[in-house]
């Protein structure tokens, strides 16, 4: 499965929850599949989906899912120790690991070669790190959201993209409606 197929499959699981979605194609795909006010689309700042979602999880009690990619996690590896050492039970980090920088033309990442993000996250001190194959993600994600323990999911899948338009929503609108959903 490629990322857009995975997002289509897990959209009903994500829908009731606060989601911080990675820059580029992941946000565009989620926006196309199930746009709603509980989605925070990153329009810039590659790598910070994990940190933004984690700050949100620490600041309030609702479940938060950060959707990240292997390339983006590699950009901001330093946040994994921060997440591990301040674990928040309402936080799930979903890393869609297709071994490539999808939004920029599928250049290979080191996660697709020798580097294991599961081993990295574990070494950083994260206690619940699960590797899962794309087709098996749904129940694993649901369990992680329902659990009181923070979970890092590394979902292995194929690289590949679909053609779709950029998000034209104003960033302040994305942020405002998201904050209203947080408060609701």
């Amino acid at each position: 499965m490629i990322r857009s197929e995975i997002l289509k499959e897990i959209a009903p699981i994500l829908n009731p929850h606060l989601v911080v979605c990675n820059i580029g194609l992941p946000s565009q795909e989620l926006h196309m599949i199930d746009d709603n006010e509980r989605n925070f689309y990153m329009l810039g700042t590659m790598g910070l989906s994990s940190s933004i979602g984690f700050g949100l999880a620490l600041a309030q009690d609702k479940p938060v899912i950060s959707i990240d990619g292997d390339g983006s996690v590699l950009t901001n590896l330093g946040t994994l120790p921060t997440i591990a050492n301040n674990a928040a039970g309402n936080y799930t980090l979903l890393i869609i690991d297709n071994g490539s920088y999808g939004s920029t033309g599928d250049q290979p990442t080191y996660a697709g070669r020798k580097t294991s993000l599961v081993a990295v996250a574990t070494a950083c001190g994260c206690e619940n790190v699960i590797e899962v194959q794309d087709k098996d993600l749904g129940p694993v994600l649901q369990d992680a959201i329902d659990s009181d323990e923070m979970t890092i999911i590394v979902c292995k899948c194929d690289s590949g993209n679909i053609k779709l338009p950029v998000i034209t929503l104003d960033p302040v609108v994305i942020r405002h409606r998201f904050m209203e959903a947080v408060k609701a």
């Binding site: 700042t45 910070l48 940190s51 984690f54 700050g55 949100l56 901001n76 330093g78 921060t82």
Partner: protein, 168 residues
């Protein structure tokens, strides 16, 4: 006057309850003070752009955030400031140790000091420079201004302000 305590008192009085820090010798006292306050959740960051991401999330979660870091971080965080904090219009007080200014002993620090105000000006970030201890009296107003206008705001605090780190 204990400026570490005054800074953190002002943070608490302005309802800032989520503070991330990247350390600097000059900031050690204020970071200790942040760590010891029950009213503040202190989360050290490994890099300043990560810290700004944490602050963005905390703000959307209903908390008032702040970041404490060195001026070298301006070189690290320009993209984050422009495409996250400013683009989504989020408030962020940045308490910045202004290394490389008067009474600085480390020459390399001057290399970023000479760019610091120019970079902040280029980003249209409101910038205040604390050089004398009495300048801290403005801090409360700066915090109110930051959360009024939903912008990142820089407070540069040099060695003279902190009591002359480096020439003792």
């Amino acid at each position: 006057m204990n400026i570490d305590k005054k800074i953190v008192d002002d943070l608490v009085a302005n309802d800032v309850s989520f503070v991330t820090t990247v350390p600097c010798k000059q900031l050690a006292g204020v970071i200790d003070e942040v760590e010891n306050r029950d009213d503040i959740f202190h989360i050290p960051s490994n890099k300043e752009d990560e810290g700004m991401g944490l602050c963005a999330g905390a703000f959307m979660g209903g908390k008032r955030p702040a970041i404490i870091m060195q001026n070298t971080a301006i070189g690290v965080t320009i993209n984050t400031l422009a495409t996250l904090t400013q683009f989504y219009r989020m408030p962020l007080p940045m308490i910045i140790s202004y290394r490389g200014e008067l009474r600085e002993p480390v020459a390399c620090q001057v290399e970023m000091a000479v760019h610091t105000k120019a970079l902040l000006a280029q980003l249209n970030i409101p910038t205040y420079h604390f050089h004398w201890q009495k300048d801290v009296e403005e801090f409360d107003n700066i915090l109110k201004y930051t959360f009024m206008c939903n912008k990142p705001v820089a407070i540069l605090t040099d060695a003279n302000f902190w009591g002359g780190y480096g020439d003792q």
